[in-house]
Symmetry: C2
Subunit: 197 residues, 2 copies
């Protein structure tokens, strides 16, 4: 009798939802990916919706670890830390052939308009991530390398929402170009220009 690790279930489920979306990922797909019987799924989760809300929390944890790591490298300026963070994500999407989206971005578009608890879970994650990023933006503003006529939290939201928009386009074009443009346009816009002489 096989036993299953809940984290493995969540992670396999996240992969599937990132690739196929929520409604196009059936419970059976997740079961197959985990080699698990259906009864076990309902032992761990109340419903498909409960599953995805738990998956969102797990995703927040996974990405949250990277987030802290990427942004805490003291050898880089604050702007360069932020850029590094997004570059690492761009690399990941490139390695996945531009077919896989961000869990939260997928769910935002697909179900946030219709399933309120999912909408609320995503909102909470975005709020915490934005605040986290904003604290680094604020330091960049204090050091004079990031524009400061716009509030740091707003700039953090600007970056997250814009990146999600770029991810959607990446999937359409099956190309990393929208992500590169994010780095070179969207991100570059928040960099303060050094006025020469």
């Amino acid at each position: 009798m096989a036993k299953h690790d809940i984290n493995n279930i969540l992670e396999k489920g996240i992969e599937l939802v990132r690739l196929n979306g929520y409604h196009n990922t059936g419970i059976r797909d997740i079961l197959k990916a985990c080699g698990m019987p259906k009864g076990s799924f309902y032992h761990f989760f109340e419903s498909k919706e409960d599953f995805v809300i738990r998956a969102i929390a797990h995703f927040e944890e996974l990405i949250g670890k990277d987030f802290k790591k990427n942004l805490s490298d003291d050898s880089l300026s604050y702007y360069d830390r932020i850029r590094r963070h997004f570059e690492i994500h761009v690399k990941w999407y490139t390695e996945n052939d531009y077919k896989v989206g961000c869990l939260l971005g997928n769910l935002s578009t697909e179900v946030a308009g219709t399933i309120d608890p999912v909408s609320q879970a995503i909102s909470g994650v975005y709020d915490r991530w934005s605040r986290g990023l904003a604290s680094f933006i604020e330091k960049g503003q204090q050091e004079g390398e990031i524009i400061d006529h716009i509030d740091a939290l707003q700039l953090a939201n600007y970056l997250f929402d814009s990146f999600n928009g770029a991810l959607g386009r990446m999937k359409v074009e099956r190309s990393g170009q929208p992500l590169d443009h994010f780095l070179d346009i969207n991100l570059a816009f928040i960099k303060k220009e050094k006025i020469a002489g």
Copy 2:
């Protein structure tokens, strides 16, 4: 025996997909919205996929009309025309309680990674729209009101992708704030600052 207008079917289908997404919109939902029997659906469309590709083309036509109208008002500067265009869209989403997304944005995120013909149809529309918008951006660059260190077509893509990102967030937060931020941050970034004497 009722007869059905294909444009009505497409428009009702578009509404449903914008609200519920592709996989969560069944053929029956569309039939019900049109008061049409199932056999008739397959008389008009080869498959669900064929339907949505036709819906994309129809959507392009609908929005394309507004697009030309919004951007051709000679009494406004080019930048203000572009802003007017997006303001009109922001108003529409507001009137729909922030629950409805953009057809192309929804499909980009939900199926563009998995259904190639849909991905290609969307890509074509975005390409044409971006070129259309870029021609106005270019004029704004020539008049000196829009920044010109970035190619007009890239700026057009920047605006479209960013707006889609903002729409996704709007659905999560059930708020027009992300859209307002798009106008006041994303769009404002392309405006050339008048350097005071």
